[in-house]
Amino acid sequence: MAKEIKSQESIPASKVQRAARFMRTGVKVGKNYIRHYARNTVKPGSGKDQLHEENARDIYDSLSELKGSALKIAQMMSMDKNMLPAAYSERFQMAQYSAPPLSYPLVVRTFNKDLGKSPDNLFDTFTKNAVNAASIGQVHQATKDGKKMAVKVQYPGVAQSVSSDLKMVKPFAVNILGLNDVDVNHYMDEVETMLLAETDYELELKRSKEISEATSHIPNLRFPKYYKDFSSRNILTMDWLEGAHLDVFLKTNPSQEIRNKIGQAMWTFYDYQIHHMKAVHADPHPGNFILNEEGKLGVIDFGAVKDIPDDFYNKYFVLLDSSLLEDDDKLMKVFINLKFIYEEDTQKDIDEIFNILKTMVELLGRPFRVDQFDFGNDDYFKEIYEFGEESSKAKALKFSKKPRGARDGLYLNRTYFGLYSILNQLKANISTKSFWHENKFDL
């Protein structure tokens, strides 16, 4: 029996074992730092990049042995280029496609428990091995009445392990990645809520219906049809979309025209959700999209949904108003409103944070201030990464005892980082017309 995806030697079972796994990472990363400092004494200036690279590899190796939520967290952190040095995030992005498979008997058991029938009874054909790994489950291919379907099956106990996994990741994130405690807490709550929602496939089914109906008018966008009768809390059945994930798709050298078409669909899809629907679905990581040579964008994951409260929307997206960049007083007011800056901060901190934020607003808002934007322009992304590295060193942010920015902001930042990063990989040159203009803001 050839196994396509080879099972891991062992999957850490109990919380203790998993904690041990994290500790091992801690020790290894410590070792890398020692190596780094040793190297630096011998040969000053050997870049921190190499250190990041080594740490990222160790952290990734440890995380990839954990299934479920820890893997998901790695993915999410990988999205947030803001939070992680570039080397970490590149490594983490690999986590998006690899997780060890569930055994077929367990798949059968899940079907029997949830739907009362084995997959062989429900479908005409059903692949025994997973054709794809999703972060909290795996995908099988099935056919029914001549129709090809994708069936997602969830790992058992994922929902229960979310909270305990997060508790383990927290000190790890604080100590090893050098993030500040307050930010991490802030972030973790948000992540936990979302992860729990993601483990509920019934909810996902409902949302997929809502969102695909609401955005069906956007050209070049397609959604799979979901099958309620073949779905449950742990099983989700949908149409099989032909096409490939981003990395594979790009290897086929699609023409600029096709890449623009897909990029445009992606931009409009997110823009419409954020600025018109005020709810954003499906965190934009490459695993959630299926692209094809006709230039159609398939969206296959509706796990994460974030409602954007109106008052937050207004406070936050007023930042896209370009007149703000010429009026520091007004801009300061917006930052204070958003709790990015507190009035009781020291003047030194205020200055430092203000400058960082202003740069961020200018950088991230840039596509909005023009009609057409070339996301293939690597200089722009270099600027973003450099800014990310720079701001992660800022003392006022790093040692801040207060959370900076509302939780909702963290989530939206991630969405935009993810979106921009995919558009960059696509090298899409697109119209960045935005539904933002529909909204009214008071300054």
């Binding site: 029996m1 196994k3 099972s7 891991q8 030697e9 062992s10 999957i11 079972a13 569930l102 055994s103 077929y104 008997p105 367990l106 059968v108 058991r109 899940t110 428990k113 084995s118 062989d120 025994k128 790992y155 058992p156 106990g157 229960q160």
Partner: protein, 212 residues
Amino acid sequence: MKNFIQKIKKNYRDHFNMTNKPPRSISAFMQDMGEDEEAFKKYYKSFSDLDKEIWKDIAVSTITRVKAEDVYIDYAVREKMLSFLYTLVEEMKPYRAFVNYQFKHKKNGRIGITPKFLDDFKTEFMSFSHEIVNEGLDTTEIINRPFISEKYADALWVEVLFLISFWIRDNSANGESTDAAIEKTSNFAFDLLGQTPLDSAFDLVKFLFQRK
């Protein structure tokens, strides 16, 4: 006759499910059924005999069910074992109180030591276990190692014992933790039985040693 035995077993199980303990005495138990002790003694000497047979039934019906599945012949031995364990959990479900009681009151508390009431269950399982180990050796999914190979089937028995104790203590929704435990212990067991780095290490050491 068969019906009568079935009735005894069912009433016995129901008694556990309602009271979480065995009947006070054979006569009291039979009286509730409207029968006398003699009728019971015709088939079993004691409750322990009955216990053993119920366990044996569980093993037999589990193995029958597993083998009846269409996919069974296509399974790798790892999957055959997994399928056995998932089905076992299903088969034990109606006997939850019975199993609980037996495991909590067994004389030998240590994992790996087979309690008396599992004697016949073990015999049934071992023949299944030997069957899949041999098949695994044929397909090389399991590696033949001198002296150790004979113990493979016993190792799988220890896994079964462990998982029954795990299942008893599992309070997770839908027994999801047990599912995860089954998956993980089986992967671990079969990874050990298959080719491991230790085999090549041993081979290397042997080679170096012989060249001296």
